[in-house]
Amino acid sequence: MNERDRAVVTVDRLSKHYGDRSVLRDVSLRVHAGEVFGLLGPNGAGKTTTLETIVGLRRPTDGTVRVLGRDPSVDRRYVTERMAVQPQAATLFPTLTVAETLDLFASFYRDVRRPEEVLDELDLGEARRVRVKHLSGGQERRLLIAIALIGNPEIVVLDEPSAGLDPQARRNLWSIIRRQQERGTTILLSTHHMDEATQVCDRIAVLVDGSIAASGEPETLVREHAATATVTFEVPGRTTADELRSHDIPGEITVTAKGAVSLVGIVTDDPDAVLRRLTFSTGLRPRGFRVAHGSLEDLFIDLANRPTSAAEGDRAHSP
């Protein structure tokens, strides 16, 4: 079996209830060695509960979780030696400096990366002597990630790693995730930034209302679930949707008058056909074409807004 096909995290029909409240229902997923797997979902969808169950902080009500073949809530030492976690929020020792904090966590492992190297990679080199209580939110988040990377783990779990980071810091984080993947580390992360999922994840699972609504490679999911594109342009003078339909233009047409022009939007499965028709139609004189293809964000909004029963039906996509 190819190393990349080996499942290092296996979640099988995981359910989690708190009293009568169901937080996770029949969640199943596999994370393969060396891949970056993203868990997406709106707030309250159950991402953090799923991750906390995977890292052994919570026990499933039903179903099983295996990390490298072990139960993470039972084989704590085996799992914590091999899987590092960046929690969504944790206050460290507030009076220790960044370097002292990283040294403390490094002391838990026998084989560690050089703390200076990790701090530089996370752009914390200049803050190494700053006490944790004086760090900004973004710096503290990066320190939590540095802590997760210091022990050369096989698997890294990042719970919303880019929350609170500015755009540049987020891009740096993506580079770090890619470099870590090149080292052979498996990365499981949760996010609600679609661009992050598109940029860094090999596969994703969209969690909605405690269930997996869709999963797979981001491009495939977009193709399957958000295949429509929107063609926009303007036409001098006034026109109507009916007039445009008379040119055999396929799709759902909307027209808005703006000053001396009409703004036209066409939602279609086949933007190329729309462009061909518009190009060869006489009398329209359209200009300022823009084509916006379906994105992960469209998919996300679509899945998040579907009624629960629809999401149930889509669970056939569960990996």
Binding site: V55, G56, L57, R58, R76, R77, T80, E81, R82, A84, V85, P87, A89, A90, T91, L92, F93, P94, T95, L96, E100, D103, L104, F105, S107, F108, Y109, R110, D111, V112, R131, L144, I147, G151, N152, P153, E154
Partner: protein
């Protein structure tokens, strides 16, 4: 891939972290030292006033040393031990540690050294005061005072760790840190002699560990008879410290939920 570093190395790292944490945010220590010195100052002032009025030494400070000692030990055990541990749990630090290979025992053992250091400093201060109050005190009395304070400190620290093992709300811990010493002082004979209470109540109070400390120190300082042989009291204290410490390590919860 990493494997867990040796337990002693983890203890050393935690000891350094806990010591820095306490020393660099010295508000708790300053409050503890200030209240300890204020109590000594108050007793010394009353001593001086009574001596001036009556013309003879009153020995108020000397007789108040068990009160001073037990108050200081409880402040170290509850204010400087239980409260910070519970705060670490409530802020998510323990949860973050629980996802690493850090060992629970290493975290707790690393917490001890600076607190034991404070107990030793307190024992030294009390011995200095005891010698100052009665310069011709026999050396065996000083050893008895030191031993009682050190074992009493170990016992109360064990209890402090036990309290912190499950609590998740630092406000509750803080309230306990205020309430428990008051209860302990009221029931230990430090504020008034237990002999004034009905015999069955006094008998009940003598079973309390804080009463062991106060009773043993009172007997040594007043050079009177020990209510229970010192060796027995020390053995009880050592056993209590061991059992509560082990129970605390066993019950210590990383997480809040």
């Amino acid at each position: 891939m990493s494997t867990t570093h040796a337990f002693p190395a983890q203890v050393r790292s935690f000891a350094a972290a806990h010591a820095r944490d306490l020393v660099r945010d010295p508000r708790s220590i300053i409050a503890l030292v200030a209240s300890f010195l204020a109590l000594i100052g108050l007793l010394w002032g009353v001593d001086a006033l009574v001596a001036t009025a009556s013309g003879t030494p009153a020995g108020v400070l000397e007789r108040g040393l068990p009160l001073v000692s037990s108050t200081g030990l409880m402040a170290i055990a509850f204010m400087l031990t239980t409260v910070p541990l519970v705060r670490h749990r409530s802020t998510g630090l323990l949860r973050a540690l629980s996802t690493s290979p850090a060992r629970r025992g290493a975290y707790l053992l690393g917490h001890l050294p600076i607190r034991v250091g404070l107990v030793v400093v307190e024992a030294a201060v009390v011995i200095v005061l005891a010698v100052w109050a009665a310069p011709i005190r026999p050396r065996s009395d000083l050893i008895a005072i030191a031993g009682t304070i050190l074992l009493g400190g170990a016992m109360l620290l064990g209890f402090g760790y036990l309290l912190a093992a499950r609590l998740s709300n630092p406000d509750t811990a803080m309230q306990l840190a205020y309430l428990l010493p008051m209860l302990a002082l009221a029931t230990s004979g430090a504020l008034f002699p237990l002999a004034v209470l009905p015999e069955w109540v006094a008998g009940l109070f003598r079973l309390l560990p804080t009463t062991w400390i106060v009773g043993a120190l009172e007997a040594v300082i007043s050079q009177g008879p020990q209510p229970v042989p010192l060796a027995v009291v020390w053995s009880l204290m050592a056993a209590f410290a061991l059992v509560s410490g082990l129970a605390a390590a066993r019950l210590h919860r990383w997480d809040v939920g």
